[in-house]
Structures are given as C-alpha cells and as structure tokens.
C-alpha cells in the first residue's frame, strides 16, 4: 500500500465479534415422557370420556338397521347410510354443515373452558391414554418404567416389553379393523379378513392399525406439540375470561420443601412445596408453574396431583386450579368468574351455532329423497311437429334416493299451453339415476319468440319425493 492510498481510504469501524466457541444444533433427539398415574376428579372425567367415546366408536358398526348396517359409508357405491337416512354425494352440503357446526362448537367451548377437546375427547389423547394404561398395567408406574428402560436387557424386561407390544398391536389392529368397518360392512369384513381376502381392506386395516400404534404408542404428545395446528391457534380463541389450568403464583411462591405443620409463611415460603408431582403426571411433560404454555392440553391431571399434596399437607386445595387469567390476577371468587362466561364472544358463538343447528335440522327435515336435473338438449333448439305444435327437448336426470323402486309423474307449468308430449311417467329403481328424454310442446304461436321460464314438477306417485326444477322453453324466430 502506498501512502497516497492510505490517506484516501476512510476509516471503517468494525465491532469486535467474539469467536463462536460451540456448535448448537436446532434439532435434538426426542426425550421420552413417563407420566405418573394419579387419581382424582379430572382423571375420572378423562376415563369416563375414554369409555364413552370408545363404546360409540367400537360399537356403532355392529348395530343393524333393518337389512343393513346402521352406520356405513359405502364409498364404492357412493351411498352413506346414517341410521334411517341414505345420503348421496349430492348431499355433500350436510357434511359441510356438520363440519362448520363442529368447528363452531370447538370455538365455543374453547372460549369458555379452554382445551376441553384436547384434554378429554381428541382421539390422540384417548388412544394415548389407553396405550399408557396398558403400558402401566404391564410395566408398572413411572419410576418402574424408567428403571426398566434404562436397565439392561434382562428376561423380565424382555417379557414385559413383548407383552406390552402384543397388547398394543392387538388394540391397534382392532381399531384399524373397526375404522375400516365404517366403510365396508364390518361383519363381511371380518369374515373376509379371516380368510385373508380383499387386498385393499387388509392394507387399510394395517394402515390405520399402524397409525394408531405409532401415534398412541410412540408419537403421543409430539403430535400435539409439533403437528397439530390447534395448539398454535388456541391463543386466538382464548381470552382473559377463558377457564384454563393455572398455577397461582401469589399463593405458591416462594416454593420450597418444608416439614409438615410448621409455620412456613414465617420463613417466607408459599404453599408450593416443590414436590414436582405436577410435572411428573403431565402427559406433555411441561411445568404448569411456568404459566400457560401452548403445549398444555388442559387435561387437569396436575390439578389432581397438586390437590392430593395439598390435602396431605392440610393446606387448602386449588393451588393449581381451573380458573381464568382475570380470576388469578384479581383474586375473583367462583361467582365472579362464572358471571363473565356470558360475554359477547361466547354469546356470538352460541347464537351462530344455534342458528346453524336450526338451519341444519330444518333442511334435513325438508330433504326430498328425489333429485332432478333438467338439461335442455343443445343439438336441437326447437322444432315444429305435426299438429302445429312447437317442441323443445329436455333430458331429465331423475335420481331415486329412496330404498325402494319409485314411479314419478312428470308435469310442466309456468307457460301457457305447455304440456309434456312424451311419457309422463317414469320408473326408477332404488338408488338409481335415470336419464329420461322429455318432449314439451306448446301450440304454435302461443308464446312470443325468445326464451320462456318453464317449471318441471316431478312427483313420486308413492308420495316419497316432490321436486320442482326450473328450465326454459325456447321459441325460435
């Protein structure tokens, strides 16, 4: 470098960066959670819901309705049997309605009482619960399981582990079988599977079986933490008056161990004895004392755990309790918390939910077991036929959505002098669709040129179904 250059270059100040000294990975191996079993109100509720949901799930496909399965979603034939109803793809709107209702119901009780769905009735929770119970019955509780997993392969470990696997696989396969039984008649499916027939059925039974086994046996809380979107948008549904599982830091801090019956408050201690039981029972492995976290599924097991300790220490219950943020911050009583339940958010959710539910019930009750599409023939616009009549041709797709053969009468109205010139009666077999050519005539000159509205009335002779469909009648120049 020459001195000339040195003068010209401006001085740049470079901040001193310390040398990096360690490599930090943004991924880590999953740490297994060993939840401890606990007794209490919330545990009882959880089990009640496990039993209830699984009774419905495992039992429903075995019930019969007349000559068929009571609930069957026959994808092949595109017919969906639901108790007395037979639904078709054309009834898709009801599924849409059901999904919207479910979503709104979820918003509603999330706003009121937090993640009830997650903690109590989500299949992920329920099957995890069942699989953990199996694990615990065979391998023992938390500490025994940790010892077993960390110890070497002894004979005891071998048989306990294989036993767990066997029972898990059995439950998983039965679950897969039941699930497929909603789509294929379950009794026939059972017979087929025993004979090892039906490649796709076997595949799907194994697939859903494996999904159950993997999710409930191994993935467990990771599904909630890393995959489920619900955890991520729960904060949009919560507000300060939502009931959530919360630790009361005002009462609890400073935490610390102490002897029973001493005047701990004089030593500056709070009610929390730092026994970590609430952490050990938590199925997602968090510490609720750190406040509300997105991982918390609101199952309330830490409440059961803490209350049992509080009883033991002869302190009042409810150091961890189901309360609202406002409730904790302002020290509200039950009545005050309950008064805030009827807030605008909840009222709006409820009213929309009610309106939709009513609309759904009304439209279901007005549903006609008959669907008709009217398609004007495009090849021939209109023609003049013998007798000085003007004729238009239509194709009617008549779908009989009942379970018996039907005869339908076809009539037209809405245009003076219009009448059906072809067959006015059409037979359609049960659950069949038939395309019928219909010729409609008007006296020549009865209507001016252009297109005229015309209504087709299709009535079942048996009274099962009555539909009016719009179309047009074209008079050429």
């Amino acid at each position: 470098m020459t001195s000339v250059n040195e003068e010209k270059t401006p001085k740049k100040v470079i901040p001193i960066q310390p040398e990096p000294t360690e490599t930090r990975s943004f991924y880590e191996a999953h740490k297994r959670i060993y939840p401890r079993s606990i007794r209490g109100v919330f545990m009882r509720w959880r089990w009640a819901l496990v039993v209830l949901t699984q009774l419905v799930f495992y039992g429903l496909p075995w019930l019969e309705w007349g000559q068929r399965q009571m609930v069957l979603f026959d994808l092949g034939a595109r017919r969906f049997y639901l108790f007395g109803l037979v639904l078709y793809p054309q009834d898709f709107i009801y599924l849409t309605g059901l999904l919207i209702l479910s979503a709104l119901a979820l918003f509603l009780f999330t706003a009121v009482a937090g993640r009830l769905w997650c903690g109590f009735s989500c299949p992920q929770t329920v099957y995890t619960e069942i699989f953990m119970w199996i694990e615990q019955k065979i391998e023992g509780d938390r500490s025994a399981r940790i010892r077993l997993d960390q110890g070497g392969w002894t004979f005891e470990k071998l048989w306990k582990k294989s036993c767990t696997q066997l029972v898990w696989i059995a439950v998983a396969l039965w679950t897969g079988f039941t699930f497929v039984g909603y789509f294929v008649p379950i009794r026939e499916l059972g017979v087929e599977l025993l004979a090892l027939q039906g490649g796709w059925q076997i595949f799907w039974v194994l697939f859903y079986g494996f999904a159950t086994y993997g999710n409930a046996g191994y993935m467990r809380e990771q599904v909630c933490k890393y995959m489920c979107p619900y955890a991520r948008f729960q904060s949009a549904m919560f507000d300060k008056d939502t009931l959530i599982v919360s630790y009361d830091p005002v009462r609890g801090e400073s935490r610390g161990p102490r002897k029973k019956g001493i005047d701990y408050q004089a030593q500056g201690l709070g009610d929390c004895i730092d026994c970590k039981l609430c952490v050990q029972v938590c199925p997602v492995g968090i510490d609720i004392r750190d406040g509300l976290q997105y991982e918390c599924i609101g199952c309330g097991l830490c409440i059961d755990a803490c209350n049992s300790i509080m009883d033991n220490m002869h302190y009042p219950r409810g150091l961890i309790r189901l309360t609202t943020q406002n409730g904790v911050a302002k020290g509200w009583k039950h009545a005050q918390i309950l008064r805030r339940v009827l807030r605008p958010r909840v009222l709006i959710y409820s009213s929309i939910l009610l309106a939709l539910a009513v609309a759904m019930v009304v439209s279901m009750s007005m549903r006609q077991p008959l669907k008709v599409d009217v398609i004007r023939d495009r090849a021939s616009l209109a023609r003049i036929v013998a007798g000085g009549k003007l004729e238009n041709v239509y194709r009617l797709q008549v779908m009989n959505a009942t379970e018996s053969p039907q005869t339908y009468s076809i009539r037209v109205h809405g245009l003076d002098g219009a009448e059906v010139a072809s067959e006015t009666e059409v037979q359609v077999l049960p659950a069949e669709t038939r395309g019928v050519a219909v010729r409609v005539q008007i006296p020549y000159g009865a209507a001016g040129t252009g297109s005229h509205a015309l209504l087709f009335d299709i009535d079942a002779v048996s009274g099962q179904g009555k539909v009016s469909e719009k179309s047009v009648f074209i008079v050429p120049r």
């Binding site: 990096p20 000294t21 490599t23 930090r24 943004f26 999953h30 090849a379 021939s380 038939r434 010729r439």
Partner: protein, 304 residues
C-alpha cells in the same frame, strides 16, 4: 410425447426442478446447526434490535429426517414418473395411458353383464327390459349429442324414430351404421343443372314430388333436369338406401324444408358424416344400441 418447443425448455424445466429440490436440502443442512458464542442461555446466537435474542427450542430430530425423506422421495418420484421436462419416467406413466387402463378394467368388469348380448338377436335384445335400460344409458351418453335425447334428431341429424331410413332400417344395417359410420354426400350440381333459374325450377319439381306447396309451372320446367338427380335418388325420387340417398317424396326434410333450402342443397351440395363407433364401444354395446335404435320404429310387446 413432449409439448416443448425445443429441447432447451425441457432441460430448463428439469434444471429448475432439480435445483429447487437440492436447494431445499442445502437449506436444511445450513440451518440445522450453528456455531455460537457459548453463553449457557441456550439461544440461537441470533440477535437483532440490539438485545432481542431467539431462544433455541429444538425440533425433534425425526422431524429433520422426515424432511430428508421427502427429498429422497421426490428424487425417486422424478426417476419413476414424468416431471423432468420431457423425460417420461421409468414407468412410462401418462394420463392417457391411465385412462385407457381404467377403461380396459371397466370393460372387463362389464363383460359378464354384456356377455349374453353378443349372441342374442336384435329382436330378442329389444324385448329385454334390462337391455333396453342399458341401451337408454348408452344412447344418452354416446348418441344423444347429435340425435337428441329423444332420438328425433334435428336439422342435419337424422330422426331415428320415424321409420324413414337413409341407409336402411334392418338390424344389420343399423349395426353397420353404428359400427362403421356413414358418409352422406350430395355433390354440388349447379353446373350440371345450368342457370340459377334452372336450379330454382328443379327445386320446385322436387317439392312437387312430396306434394309440398310449389309452383306447378316452374316444376314442369324443372322436370327434365331431374335426370341428373335420378342417378342417385331414383327416377321416381324415392331415394336409394345403398347410396344413402334420401327419399324426396316423403315429408321428411333432414336439411331443411322449402324452396331456398333445396336450392342451396343443389347449388352447394353437402357432406354429412356419422362417425364410426367401433373404436369407442365394445361389440356387445353396439349390439344393445342397435336393438335400442331398432326398437324405436319396431314397437313390440303390448303395442301389437
């Protein structure tokens, strides 16, 4: 089978596809770990707004492996299926191929249903209610586009219900029409006939054959010119089913009625085509359709 204008674009698209996948892999590798100043507070070393730091909340490792699996899967997919420019893939899979396979499968599944129609006579098929229901559906899907849902046709498309046949209404003739198709040809005759005046006179003569309203003077002037037409339509104008020449003495006017329509037809001629269906339909399906079409003009059962 490639829609690319030239090879460059094919390579270009393939390149973008591959580079995109590899870029995903690179991104994953580069962001999986980072060298940071040890500070024991478990942050990512990412600092902005002077003191805002990102906590390192590690994802489970299987998540990263899933990412890797998707990349491996996409590369395998590109080997097996089309996706790299104009490269067709090891399986030679294509939409059309898939469609043809599905159709083959469907036809195979239908074969037992159609089996009996391969040997039955047209008359017997026409008596079979089930067959007629199948015929109705086949007609709606394959014929109604031109002949109309009611099979009564329209201008330029023959009416199949009136018992008036261009190429004959016997079962075997209908069968041939459906299977092999037909070409109807009326050559332009203006030069052979003479002046436009002559053509108009001839048109009136043709109208007179079916007793339609006409000018009898013009018709008598045009009569001599009908020799040209007689070659196909016959001296009496009754048509010829061997040639598909229409009968001019009845009241069916396939290509329009009246003086002007006939003048246009003589002057310009017309090519009309019924497309062959044997490539689209199975022989059994054609048998059923034949019976269905035949039954329009041969009412049976309770009617007789």
């Amino acid at each position: 089978m490639s829609d690319f204008v030239n090879n460059f674009w094919s390579v270009y698209v393939a390149g973008i596809t591959l580079v995109g996948i590899l870029a995903c892999l690179l991104l994953l590798v580069l962001t999986a770990r980072k060298r940071v100043v040890s500070d024991n507070d478990n942050t990512t070393g990412h600092v902005w707004d002077e003191d805002l730091r990102e906590l390192n909340n590690p994802m489970p490792r299987w998540w990263m492996w899933m990412f890797v699996i998707t990349i491996v899967f996409s590369l395998l997919y590109l080997v097996v299926y089309p996706g790299m420019g104009s490269y067709a893939g090891k399986l030679q899979w294509s939409q059309i191929g898939a469609y043809e396979k599905e159709m083959e499968k469907a036809n195979e599944a239908l074969e037992p249903l159609y089996a009996r129609f391969t040997t039955m006579t047209t008359q017997d098929i026409a008596k079979d209610d089930k067959a007629m229901a199948i015929g109705e559906r086949l007609f709606m899907n394959n014929c109604a586009q031109c002949h109309g849902s009611d099979a009564r046709g329209s201008k330029g498309f023959p009416n199949l219900t009136d018992g008036d046949w261009l190429h004959g209404g016997a079962p075997e003739q209908i069968h041939e029409t459906i299977a092999k198709g037909r070409i109807g040809m009326m050559p332009p005759q203006a030069e052979a006939v003479g002046t436009p005046e002559d053509v108009r006179n001839l048109a009136h003569y043709v109208l007179s054959l079916s007793n339609s309203p006409h000018d009898s003077l013009k018709a008598s002037l045009g009569k001599s010119k009908f020799m040209i037409c007689a070659a196909c339509h016959g001296a009496d104008g009754k048509g010829n089913q061997m040639l598909g020449a229409p009968n001019l003495t009845d009241d069916n006017w396939l290509h329009g009625w009246g003086e002007q329509a006939i003048v246009d037809m003589i002057t310009n001629g017309k090519m009309n085509q019924m497309p062959a269906q044997e490539a689209k339909l199975t022989p059994a399906q054609i048998n059923v359709l034949t019976a269905y079409v035949w039954s329009f003009s041969n009412k049976q059962g309770s009617a007789n």
